[in-house]
Amino acid sequence: MRRNNSLSHLLLGAALTLGASQVIALQELDDSSLSDVQGAGLAFAMDDFSFRFAPTSYIELTGTQAQGAGWERGDARYYGLSITNGEQIAGMDWHGSGCGSGGAFGNDHLACPMGTDNGGGIGAFASIYDPYVLRAYKYEGYDYSGAYLSTPANMPTVMELIGPSDTDRWRWSFWGELEVDRLNNNPADGARNNSYNVGGADFLQSQTIIHGKPVTTDGRPARLRLMRTTGMDSALYPWADSNTFGITYESALSGDFRFSVRQKANSEDRLHWVPDFEDNEGMYFKNVDAYLPLGQLHYQALTLDAVRSGNERGNFIIELTRIPNIAAVYEDFYCDGPCNIVNGEIQNPNNDTRGYVRWGDFTRFDDPGSTEGFAVPGAQSTDNGIYFVGGGTEPSPGAGVTASTQDVTNIGISRIEGMRIHHLKITTLGAGQ
């Protein structure tokens, strides 16, 4: 194949792509030049992508000593974190002993935690036509003090990473292990807490599988922004000039979900041993669609802080800062432009600030005449909504069992709409004197 690009074009292109665009990226941080280059950025595409932790490799979060009577120490491990192909049904599990759906439980893509088609690779994890884009950018908007920033000179620069608006479906999975009361467990278990001895640690093993895309059903991408906050010196933030590192994140996810704990009859079921999970049992969520905006430019951001006084010092705070109590800011938060309120109802809501989580497809619930989407689920439906598949004999009734106990119970579709977060603050409490 010959193309228009000459060798020198390639050389220049490759070098400029790498070298000069870095220079441009740096120049964009200069306020005076930014208006000329808005939108430029680096693009990242990923083709045939897969990522797999070894089945025995983990990320562990450890707590501190139990906080007193009535508390147990818990240690959580997340093993085998994987991102693999989800376009085809074929798959594998961590144990390597095979897995598969019978098609009876609506779990074609949820029986196996990892896809094997295309070597596990996701063809369009990020297409060259819809890539991740990393760029420095300026947006108009109100800051924390209520000032409307709209000129190149005063608009804050944010660094943003914008995800694709469409991708192939992928499987995102891990198996988890919650170990309880580690320090009082059998010391013979050894330094790595192996539980091969009688009286070993108490634990719960589980698997989590998500089959979907990092975009909403209507194509809204995930978006991460990093910035220095602006105007954070109002009465809400009494310490002088408290502008600091801020993050906004728009979380977008759509697809199906399964959480299960049951293991097959021949699974080892030992602490730290890779379990052989049953292929059907579990809690399913079908046609989930979720959008959660955390922070709004330039008056709300995730910030990091610490407890500053009292006996909880030493602890860490993650805070989605309070919406400043300023009318113009509230109007921006609630409405798309000046609020048009009729009979107490906003006619022009700001959809960028409205989060939602839908556990199930509501198309035909909202419009019974529609032929789109999925039907409102019945008591044993497995194509929509939230349902449970019981743990029983599998894959079919065994000796002495006259009927499968893998019953299906669908509890319907559910949704939360209009989630606007005015303020959220999380404080750890494990540290202290």
């Binding site: 680096l42 693009a43 992508f49 797999r52 490799s57 144990h95 819809d130 694709p164 041993w273 860490f316």
Partner: protein, 273 residues
């Protein structure tokens, strides 16, 4: 950022590979991406000079970084370095005060204290990452282009335009994108296997060695630069202090070693506009 590291080791090895199309820019591309010295890329554009460069058909890169941890192959690979100048055996108490193996972060306008990572060590190895040049939409073999599946996604041309709609990347068509050069990093999908254990020995994973990642932090806490009036604790700089224990610890490892094994597959393209 403050850190006190006993042993920090950093190594990058490069080796030329004779595969793929002869893209002159590959070595320049790899080096400029790694070291972010755009000036080199611009100085190296003379064709006559480039002709003598080895590695012009792409480079393989391996990278190792060990922070307070043992790089020697074997069961201790990635383990904390001990001894008088090393990390302490974790005990949930005095070990958190270890000064050799801590790292502290401070953010703007949070200068009353530090977020201190206590008694920690880390390591990362990236093995045999292939860097080469590519035409994004070219033939997957001859041009290192993407797969058919990758091109099946509809063009989202808003990504390549500014807010006024002006195109920032050629003419914002798929044809332009197809013909555009890019840097490609590639891992061949190799995966791995799990072998179930026997009593006394939990199962083991083999393979999963594209990236080895080990990380351990015994405790995290905020430590303050000065005590308040009436407090008795030491007035050391926050990044040295250990007055408040820990609210969280974390570890990345394997049941059979100090580093998690990770298999990565795929082609990663970077281009700009």
């Amino acid at each position: 950022m403050m850190n006190r590291a006993l042993g920090t080791q950093f190594r990058i090895s490069l080796s030329p590979v004779a595969r793929g199309k002869a893209f002159w820019a590959a070595l320049v591309a790899g080096i400029s991406m790694l070291f972010a010295i755009p000036g080199y890329a611009l100085e190296s554009m003379d064709d006559s000079e480039m002709g003598a460069v080895t590695g012009q058909e792409g480079v393989l890169i391996s990278l190792e970084y060990y922070y307070n941890s043992d790089p020697s192959p074997g069961v201790n690979q990635g383990a904390a370095l001990g001894g008088a100048f090393g990390c302490s055996a974790p005990n949930g108490g005095t070990s958190l005060a270890n000064q050799n193996c801590r790292l502290a972060l401070q953010l703007e306008n949070r200068d009353f204290g530090w977020l201190v990572f206590k008694n920690g060590h880390a390591s990362v190895e990236m093995n045999r990452l292939s860097l080469d040049a590519a035409f994004l939409g070219g033939d997957p073999v001859a041009d290192n282009g993407v797969s058919t599946a990758n091109k099946a996604i509809a063009l989202n041309d808003e990504k390549f335009r500014d807010e006024s709609g002006a195109c920032l990347f050629g003419d914002c068509t798929t044809t332009w994108i197809d013909n555009s050069p890019a840097v490609r990093a590639q891992y061949i999908e190799t995966g791995g296997l799990y072998t179930a254990g026997s009593p006394g020995q939990p199962g083991t994973s083999t393979g999963y060695n594209d990236v080895l990642l080990g990380m351990y932090v015994e405790g995290l806490a905020v430590e303050y630069n000065q005590p308040q009036v009436g407090d008795i604790w030491a007035a050391a700089p926050g990044w040295q202090a250990n007055n408040f224990g820990s609210f969280l610890g974390f570890e990345i490892a394997d049941n059979n070693g100090h580093q998690a094994g990770i298999a990565i597959g795929g082609n990663f393209y970077m281009y700009g506009f």
